[in-house]
Structures are given as structure tokens and as C-alpha cells.
Amino acid sequence: MDIKVQFGGGAELLFDNKKHYDISLPSKEKPWIIGDLLFWLKEHLLKERPDLFLQDNSVRPGILVLINDTDWELMDTVNYEIQLNDCIMFISTLHGG
């Protein structure tokens, strides 16, 4: 399943300083949810210490997630079922002065 993943606000510093990724998720029995994607990102793309991005089973507090430009808190956060061509954006609010 092809989706777009974007990083901003400093979150890209944890992902090889690249802001846009087109990724292809391998097919699996159960539908892909955001929670699965977080671990997939940790395995495949995350370059810095995982605790700067993840905490428990979710993103670290202070990182906002937007699914197709909509706040993930409106979409059941980690339980949202990812659809084909979704664009998932991670915005850090922690990388400032």
C-alpha cells in the first residue's frame, strides 16, 4: 500500500533531514493502523534515538500528527486505519529555542 509520510517542525531532523517520503507498506492480514506505522517508521526510517520520536505505543508528547491535513485526535489517533494514498504528517513542536 502506497502512502506519503511527511515530517516538519524539526521532526525531519530525526529522519535523515528529509521532509517527504513516499513509502510502500507491505500487505498484511490486519489493516494497517497508525500504531503499526509508527513501529514501521522506527524500524525503517528513524535515524536518531527512538525516544525522541516514540513514547510507549504512541508518538512522543509534543509531536502533532495530521492525517490528510486533519488532526489525528479527530481520527482516533493510533487506531486510525490507513487508506491507500493517505498523507500522514508529523510536526514536532519541540525543536525550538
Binding site: 517542525g9 491535513d69 486533519t70 513542536t93 525543536h95 525550538g96 529555542g97
Partner: protein, 398 residues
């Protein structure tokens, strides 16, 4: 803030996910919401953006401090809040309605990111200048280290001289090695004083600083913990009027991180970002207060507003003010006959360090130690309580 045996959690609302797919924006009741604020308020894009703009302008308007043509120094810091502030000002100035902002902003970047390498800092400065230029603003540059060392402010445009050892400048202010809390405290006071000098050089009557509600709440707790309770109204309120010529205003104090970050995303603004410091959260009182507030904000978003609003109710009785502190310019209270908590602490210290003399009765022991204690009520101080604790480490006064 002890949480041992704290069973309050079961009285707290549980985080049950509410289905928002089919709901409508809370404001216009028409559009599909795209953002959920404070875990409960959903807004569509238009209502969110107009609400944000309105909140910014109404706080400035309500204060009735700014007059048309007033020059305002806007203190730029890297990150979401400053980026949003720049954009909010630009869109306010460009309005053609009576609500148009009419002050003249002047931007300054007081650079103090000493955890970065020289190259990273130089890139950061270039990007900050570019960010301002994109909105047709001009960025002035000032080096924090240079200002401290020379004890004077030099304002640069386009370029700043960077040195690898700039970070040591603050340490050179002190005779001995001091703890991180005091270091951070002094550096905040110096920063404030430098901003005031810059404002005076650029003939600005006001300064905007980009603190958000979480910063205000953390500052409030820090001030209380450091014995700066009497300075809470000026240090965390909307307006800091300690200086008689230049007022410091905090126009973003009712915004939270999510609001400014989303504002930037929706306007396709890319804030300048830098590597994070790997701060030990227990290294200083400031870091601890920040951590505490951030965690609260994550789990119970209403708490930050409660802390800020409670702080807003604190005011100082002007009749009790004796003068201003030499270092932080905060108020020094008139000495009173009452026993203050400061004195109680010193008394307790005295008693605890006294070896008990068992050859006399307890009544005599008490009288002996009480006789040694000097009631300091009549001593006039140059420094406020909190600064007097730091001042003995300082080489010279600023």
C-alpha cells in the same frame, strides 16, 4: 506536588475517544472539523484560523497600550511561536479593515543557541533572516555573548560574528561555578536587560516576546519556587512594566503549542528548527517546572489555563514596595515586623546547626538560640530576595 497515595485519577475524566467523523465544526456548525483543541473543541480550518487571528488581535486591542505608529521590538526565537508571531503581525498589518494593526514592528534575533556548532548557528541565522524577508521584514541581529562581554549592545544586519567559545561568556560572569538554576536565572535576567537596551537603541516603546501559555505557566511555578512571588505579575502577566520607558508584552500568552504549530502548517510556514538540547530535566528548577507543566498539559490540557489564570489574579500591593532590585529590576518589598518565610528558614537553619547543650534546660536553650537570631526586618536591601541569593556569586553587577 507529591503523588504518593494520590487516588485522584479515578475522579478524572477518562480519555474515551469520541467519534468526530460525522460532527461539524463547533463554531460554524457547517464544515467538517480538522482540528481538536483542548481535547474537546473541534474547529474547521476557516474557524480555527480566524479564531487564532482574533485571539491575537483582541489581546493586543484589549490592553489599549499600543498606539498607531508605535515602534515595537519583536524578539525572534527559533521555533513555531516566533514563526506564527511573524505571520500574525504581517497579516494584521496587511489588513484593509479598521481592525488593521497600526504599530511598526522591528525584529531582532538575540542569538544564544550555544549548544549548536558554529556552522549550525550560522545556518540558523541565515534561515531566520530568510524567514523574515519572506514576510517583507528586516531582521536585526545581536549576539548574546558579545553583549554580555562588552556590556553594550551592537546591532548587526545580515551577519553576526560567531565564536566557538561564545557559550562561556555567561560563565565568566561568575566568580565560582554555580548551579544550573542560578545560571539560567541570571541568563534570563541578562537577556531581558539586553532586549531592553536594544529596544532603547532602536527607539521602540514596546517589546513582544513569544512565550506561549505553557511557558507562562512554567515560569510562574519557577518564580514561586525561587522566591520571586512578588514578581509574578510582571514576569508572567501580559505586560512587564518594570522599565519605565519600555514595556514588555507577551501577545502569545494564551496560545498553546498545538495552536501555533497548526497555524504554521495551515499557512505552509516552515519554522527554523534546531537540534534539541539533551536537557536533564532535573538539572534546574526551570527545567523541572517546564517538564512538569508539559506533562500536565499532555494529560489534562485544562490545567495550564488554570495555572495561568490563577497567576493573573495575583497582584502586588504598591504600598508595600520599597524599591527595585539592582539586578532583575523587580520590586523589593518594604521590611515589615512580621516574620517572613525567608526569616523562618534562616531561623530553622540556625537552630538545626546548633549543637544542643544538654547542661541547660530546654527553656534556656530556646532563649539562647533566640538571642542569637537577628530580626532582619530593618535591613534595607539592594537586591530582591531571590537575587540576593545569586548576587554573591556574581563578579560585577549589571
Amino acid at each position: 506536588m507529591c503523588s504518593v497515595g494520590d487516588d485522584g485519577d479515578r475522579h478524572m475524566p477518562s480519555n474515551v475517544f469520541v467519534q468526530y467523523y460525522d460532527t461539524k465544526c463547533q463554531k460554524c456548525k457547517l464544515e467538517t472539523p480538522i482540528v481538536l483543541l483542548r481535547r474537546k473543541d473541534s474547529y474547521c480550518k476557516d474557524c480555527f484560523l480566524s479564531g487564532t487571528n482574533h485571539k491575537f488581535k483582541s489581546l493586543l486591542g484589549k490592553s489599549k497600550l499600543l498606539r498607531p505608529k508605535d515602534r515595537v521590538l519583536v524578539s525572534y526565537e527559533v521555533g513555531h511561536p516566533s514563526t506564527a508571531l511573524l505571520h500574525l503581525i504581517r497579516s494584521g498589518l496587511d489588513l484593509n479593515t479598521p481592525k488593521k494593526l497600526r504599530f511598526e514592528p522591528v525584529f531582532v534575533f538575540l542569538e544564544d543557541q550555544y549548544h549548536l556548532t558554529k556552522d549550525e548557528r550560522s545556518q540558523m541565522i541565515t534561515r531566520a533572516i530568510a524567514e523574515a524577508e519572506k514576510l517583507k521584514f528586516k531582521m536585526h541581529l545581536v549576539s548574546f555573548a558579545e553583549s554580555i562581554m562588552k556590556d553594550d549592545v551592537t546591532i548587526y544586519l545580515n551577519h553576526l560574528n560567531l565564536n566557538d567559545n561564545d557559550g562561556d561568556a555567561i560563565n565568566n560572569k561568575f566568580a565560582t561555578k554555580i548551579n544550573n538554576t542560578n545560571k539560567k536565572e541570571v541568563s534570563n535576567i541578562l537577556r531581558r536587560n539586553i532586549l531592553l537596551s536594544i529596544a532603547k537603541k532602536l527607539s521602540c516603546k514596546f517589546i513582544f516576546t513569544p512565550e506561549l501559555s505553557v511557558d507562562i505557566a512554567a515560569n510562574l511555578l519557577t518564580n514561586i519556587s525561587l522566591g520571586r512571588g512578588s514578581q509574578v505579575p510582571v514576569d508572567t502577566g501580559f505586560c512587564d512594566d518594570r522599565d519605565k520607558d519600555v514595556k514588555i508584552l507577551r501577545p502569545l500568552r494564551s496560545f498553546d503549542k498545538k495552536e501555533v504549530a497548526l497555524y504554521n502548517v495551515l499557512h505552509v510556514l516552515e519554522p527554523v528548527t534546531v537540534r534539541q538540547t539533551q536537557d536533564n530535566q532535573y538539572a534546574s528548577i526551570q527545567a523541572l517546572a517546564k517538564q512538569f507543566i508539559n506533562e500536565l498539559n499532555e494529560n489534562y490540557p485544562a490545567t495550564v489555563a488554570t495555572v495561568v489564570k490563577t497567576g493573573d489574579k495575583l497582584a502586588l500591593d504598591e504600598n508595600k514596595v520599597a524599591g527595585n532590585c539592582k539586578l532583575c529590576k523587580g520590586n523589593i518589598l518594604k521590611p515589615t515586623e512580621d516574620l517572613t518565610s525567608d526569616e523562618s528558614t534562616s531561623f530553622s537553619k540556625l537552630v538545626s546547626n546548633e549543637l544542643p547543650d544538654h547542661s541547660i534546660s530546654s527553656q534556656e536553650r530556646y532563649e539562647k538560640v533566640e538571642g542569637q537570631f537577628e530580626h532582619k526586618a530593618q535591613v534595607d536591601n539592594e537586591y530582591c530576595f531571590s537575587c540576593s541569593k545569586i548576587s554573591r556569586f556574581l563578579l560585577s553587577d549589571t
